[in-house]
């Protein structure tokens, strides 16, 4: 994978689409991360993409998935992960938006309702991040929320950030599947075992960078096994990022054939750079 593929896919407005069509926040943010990982964080392509991202930030500080969607959502975390000097003076507004976000089930009203209607109190388990406002927290947006706030804390050491990240990490650890990995966030629906996915296992390991390895031994073992046999390029990239974040040497594995989407191409570049010693998610 090389950056020329991404450069060729940049839209006239400076952003990137998922495959074709209008620009969207997620593929644009991931493409910018790929350029940063490839050492081209000052190129004209990068600067045009950064301008698109700055120009689509919403008044409340967050980002919508697409410019025509009228809500700020989880993609705010992705925007905050691009290199620190990309977003200019409105970065702090985005950090404030993210610090305040959480899953709907963590509100005191909802927890009280749960304990009254289901006869059980559930006050532990941490507070994750939701995909969309006023909905429950799930694994992937929680991973990106943690990564984004930790990066933000280097520039804006807001008092709330450490506790918010700690609670989000608790959420992830509480939502593991019985096989040691993670899926979208439901490890035990209706009391039955639910299998993990390689891509979400990789994302969680990346987000839990710094967690004592003994807490993650089963997950790391699972990821090391999955990366050898994974047939998805995107999932393999996440597994690599997760393993490298914990200092593990990557086993020999073949690079799966991709489907050519911008996020997949971007992640492959970022993962290769991480394997070579530069992990832009953790910078």
């Amino acid at each position: 994978m090389d950056l020329s593929i991404l450069a060729a896919g940049q839209n006239p407005d400076g952003g990137w689409s998922y495959r074709s069509g209008g620009s969207a926040t997620e593929p644009t943010a991931l493409a910018l991360l790929a350029f940063a990982a490839g050492g081209e964080g000052r190129s004209r392509v990068f600067l045009r993409g950064a301008e698109w991202l700055r120009g689509t930030q919403r008044p409340d500080g967050g980002w919508a998935p697409r410019p025509n969607v009228d809500r700020s959502t989880w993609v705010t975390s992705l925007a905050l992960l691009v290199p620190i000097d990309t977003l200019g003076s409105r970065r702090e507004a985005a950090v404030q938006w993210l610090v305040r976000a959480s899953g709907r089930e963590t509100s005191w009203v909802q927890r009280l309702r749960t304990s009254l209607t289901q006869g059980r109190a559930k006050f532990g388990g941490g507070a994750g991040f939701a995909w969309f406002p006023d909905t429950s927290a799930w694994v992937t947006p929680t991973c990106f929320g943690i990564l984004a706030l930790r990066k933000a804390a280097r520039l804006y050491p807001l008092r709330e950030i450490p506790a918010r990240c700690s609670s989000a990490c608790e959420f992830l650890l509480a939502h593991a599947c019985r096989d040691g990995g993670w899926n979208y966030g439901s490890g035990d629906p209706l009391g039955y075992e639910s299998a993990s996915y390689p891509e979400t296992t990789g994302q969680v390991l990346l987000a839990l960078h710094g967690t004592p390895p003994e807490q993650l031994s089963r997950a790391l073992e699972r990821a090391s096994k999955d990366v050898r046999q994974c047939r998805s390029l995107e999932a393999t990239s996440w597994l690599k990022l997760g393993l490298v974040a914990h200092g593990l040497k990557l086993p020999l594995c073949r690079q799966p054939k991709g489907n050519g989407s911008i996020p997949e191409t971007s992640l492959a570049i970022v993962a290769d750079a991480a394997a070579g010693g530069r992990n832009v998610f953790l910078e």
């Binding site: 697409r66 939701a130 969309f132 909905t135 998805s232 995107e234």
Partner: protein, 301 residues
Amino acid sequence: MLAGCSARQHHTPAQVSVVRAPGYDQTLYQTVRRMLDEHRLAIKGKRVVLKPNLVEFDSFTTINTHPLLVHAAFEAFRALGAADVRIAEGPGHRRITLDLAEEAGYFATFRSFDNAFTDLNLDEVTPVDILRPKSKLRSLYLPITVRDCDLLVSMPKMKTHHWAGATLSMKNLFGVVPGGVYGWPKNILHWAGIHESIADLYSLFPRTFAIVDGIIGMEGNGPIQGAPKHAGVLIAGGDLAAVDATCCRIMGIDPAKVTYLQLAAGGRVSPVDIQQIGESLHSVRADFALLPSFAPLRLSS
């Protein structure tokens, strides 16, 4: 003239086909073509979107709409003169849709599957108001691929569902709600009320058709962790509520007790409101095992 998926047209009475289909083999192509001919759909020059059910892949069970059935429908609509036939889905758990489609056998069945496929989760979207909502939703962002098509063909797997009772052609519409906006899963629908959301989505797509994969469905703890159930049928029709009611009767479920059906269609799914073509319900009835909490939904003999 078909004026786009947003134009309401009426089907009175609702015509539903029940056809025996013992397996996933080449006879499906002729079977599906005959079903479409029976319904006299005006397809020439139209844009058709086939929406199968892709959720998770497990080689030991039958979660997803079988790719051979989808291919049979694809070829049938093309043969009927459709200007464009696309396959489109927005899975609710896993984000990497093409990987899921490959695991489920779609790439092996279709030549250039990715050229014919749209990931509805990542499609461009447009806001749509819900005019008479049953749920707490007032509007949804929906993919332009399904808003702009002339006919949306819901192709679910015939399954029980651990929250809705059954998941059929109407619940299959959850897959058109874009994860790129609302996430994986599309939790906004759960918070708004599952039954109510199904009814609201049904109201947003009046120009629809359904072909239900009931050859091997799922019983018990559907829609993922249940057991395969051979019913040996395909069900098709232009009114999704009538199709779902018919499927329920085949599965041994009383549609009068399925909340989403009552919300969406009220009394319009009783046997007298449905013109049945093909096999009698009695001859194909194959009671699907139900979770204990859904025992009250059992249809009496």
